[in-house]
């Protein structure tokens, strides 16, 4: 468990190196999400995305990346919304320990 000082006011990790699977559980719980297998699949995918592209994805590329890596069934915004309600790219990035997506409106 990380203390509250490890997170910024919006619940993003201050130091990305602090991330671990148990930290992901902690962030998810604070967001009211119980992580299951489906969540973890996307979280790993988000971390792969970050390793490959050095940026957090917007919604469109996230959907495309899911489709390419996990198949058409999961490459859908509805599926992602069912796991990470509201704003899947932002919420997923937060739980996966990625930087805050920069350019939201």
């Amino acid at each position: 468990m990380l203390g509250p000082e490890a997170f910024d006011r919006e619940g993003f990790l201050r130091n990305l190196q602090d991330w671990s699977p148990s930290v992901a559980e902690q962030i998810a719980r604070a967001e009211g999400i119980e992580l299951g297998e489906g969540h973890w699949e996307i979280l790993h995918l988000l971390r792969d995305y970050y390793a490959q592209f050095d940026s957090s994805p917007a919604m469109r590329p996230l959907v495309k990346y899911c489709a390419a890596k996990l198949g058409a069934d999961k490459g859908k915004s509805l599926y992602l919304l069912s796991l990470f309600p509201g704003s899947p790219a932002k919420l997923g990035s937060k739980i996966a320990g990625l930087p805050k997506p920069e350019n939201c409106l």
Partner: protein
Amino acid sequence: MSTPTPRLLLVTRSAPYGASLARSALDTALAAAAFDRAPGLLFLGEGVLQLLPAQDAAASQTRNHGKVLDSLPLYDVSQLYVDATALTHYGLQAMALPAAAQLVDAAAIRALLEGCEQILSF
């Protein structure tokens, strides 16, 4: 040209590190694409240096410009144009380019500038 000219053309003329104009151009491209206005991206002059492979930004603890460029296809930014004269100028004729990239000479650049509706110049 094999693809229609884009409505919005971003001209990017800076090397990727140093000043931040190249990054601003790329961020603008990603934002436009995220809002369903995928732009064309013209790498002109010094801007072609953004395409160098094997950039390793870890040493300078900054965002890897080359890696972010790799995400353009996922944003459906597929109209990439590369200044052929500048490649020659830097001795990079043989450099591997993104799959979607088209080499353009001065006449093709002119056609791009005239074919689009709006230009943003970085």
